[in-house]
């Protein structure tokens, strides 16, 4: 209250000073005092009122019609005052929501966190970065008792909170499956039924599920409409698309999937990704899949985790550090 009345007198003094000197310094002071008014939530109508008081002090015999016109201005400012208060309130609310989402995002991260399993057979690297606070991409690792490694990578269409919520559903459905008794195609078929029953008609999920079995040295995989991954043949130094057909999860309850297999040799790699990687845009231009491959090729000789980090950094820079879509990239490298 004290600073308020102090400011009030300051304002009146400043008006007086300015009427006399009309110099820039006083106008600069006016700017400063306006800032402190805003900080103290002084509303525009109160400032007009102050101004009227100032006028009356400077011109004791201020004409009635001028006074009336100032009162008119005051009246008109009331609505602006209300709009200002409302704006303040909405801003506070926005901050509140933002921090709530942040808490939810942290929870999501904790719930869905999937550590890279320790295995002698594979060098695994993964990076998953949300475009906004909540990630709509999902990846999951499972290690079976026989040493097999299961990897799921999924993209929930739609962004933000609804996507994040359906992801928890996927995770808990997968956790309930009997461990490594299932082949990749039956895993997708079971998930499909869960998703189909539980999501909004305009939602669906794409997923690529892969299983590496060290005893056979083979990768088994199935795709539910997911962006194809790549197979890197170290011997020929070539990349091939991991072709796999299958309908996205959540569209048709009776969908069945195919299981494919691929023999991996030492130093061969498997690259799994979400369309946030291939849908990177540079200004208005799209990046072609071949270009993505070029970048991956450049880093494929690095240890898996370093490679995914470098690829991410490349595309992050390309998009001016503003991801348009969630970005997830997994690299598996056979090391023995």
């Amino acid at each position: 209250m004290d600073t308020k009345s102090l400011n009030a007198q300051d304002y009146i003094d400043l008006v007086k000073a300015y009427v006399e000197t009309q110099d820039e310094k006083t106008l600069y002071d006016a700017e400063q005092i306006a800032k402190s008014f805003i900080k103290n939530n002084i509303l525009p109508e109160e400032i007009v009122n102050l101004h009227i008081q100032a006028l009356l002090e400077i011109y004791p015999d201020l004409k009635d019609d001028i006074q009336a016109s100032m009162k008119f201005l005051l009246e008109a400012m009331i609505m602006y005052g209300l709009a200002h208060q409302e704006y303040q309130q909405l801003r506070e609310k926005q901050l509140e929501i933002k921090s709530e989402i942040l808490v939810a995002a942290r929870m999501q991260q904790m719930l869905l966190q999937s550590d890279i399993p320790k295995t002698e057979a594979l060098d695994i690297g993964v990076i998953s970065v949300p475009a906004n606070q909540m990630n709509g991409d999902y990846h999951h690792f499972v290690k079976g008792k026989d040493g097999s490694i299961g990897i799921a990578i999924a993209d929930i269409i739609g962004k933000g909170i609804p996507a994040a919520l359906s992801m928890s559903m996927i995770k808990y459905a997968m956790d309930s499956f009997p461990e490594n008794l299932m082949s990749t195609d039956t895993i997708l078929a079971s998930l499909n039924r869960v998703v189909e029953r539980n999501v909004d008609p305009s939602m669906f999920i794409t997923m690529f599920y892969a299983q590496y079995k060290p005893n056979t040295g083979k990768l088994y995989y199935s795709s539910a409409g997911h962006e194809p991954g790549f197979y890197y043949n170290s011997h020929s130094n070539n990349f091939e698309e991991l072709e796999a057909k299958g309908l996205v999860l959540g569209v048709n309850p009776d969908t069945t999937y195919m299981q494919y297999e691929l023999k991996l040799e030492k130093d061969d790699s498997i690259i799994l990704l979400t369309d946030g990687v291939t849908e990177c845009r540079r200004e208005e231009q799209f990046i072609e899949r071949e270009e993505v491959l070029e970048v991956i090729k450049h880093y494929i000789h690095l240890p898996a985790q370093e490679a995914v980090n470098q690829v991410y950094r490349h595309f992050e820079r390309l998009q001016n550090f503003q991801l348009r879509d969630d970005f997830t990239l997994v690299i598996l490298k056979k090391i023995v």
């Binding site: 269409i157 962004k159 305009s202 539910a224 409409g225 299958g246 309908l247 996205v248 048709n252």
Partner: protein, 110 residues
């Protein structure tokens, strides 16, 4: 980031011409236009995507929704003239196999 939707409605056939981009921002508008058409029994809805140069997965979601709605309500949904980039999305997701898609493929640079 804009989408124009032009609808010509006949007796039991609706032609929908789309032009622009179908993404997270324009998808709701497309959904509002498309779903009511698919809920009319016996209606055939032909969606011309010739002028759609970009679509993301949210856009696919709208077509999945429309497909489900047309099955429930006994209408037919047909997509025509898809550009390569858009067609690729339907191919990857396996939706091409369960949807009526007539892609007189046109280049992106057209």
């Amino acid at each position: 980031m804009n989408l124009q939707i032009h609808i010509e409605e006949g007796n039991d056939k609706s032609h929908v011409h789309l032009s622009g981009e179908i993404d997270v921002y324009t998808a709701p508008k497309l959904k509002d236009a498309l779903i009511p058409l698919t809920s009319k029994q016996g209606n055939t809805i032909e969606v011309n995507l010739e002028q759609v140069k970009y679509m993301d997965s949210t856009g696919l979601g709208v077509f999945v929704n429309a497909l489900k709605s047309s099955k429930e309500n006994g209408s037919k949904l047909k997509l025509i003239n898809l550009q390569d980039r858009v067609l690729r999305l339907f191919q990857i997701t396996g939706l091409q196999e369960i949807m009526d898609i007539n892609a007189t493929i046109r280049g992106v640079n057209e």
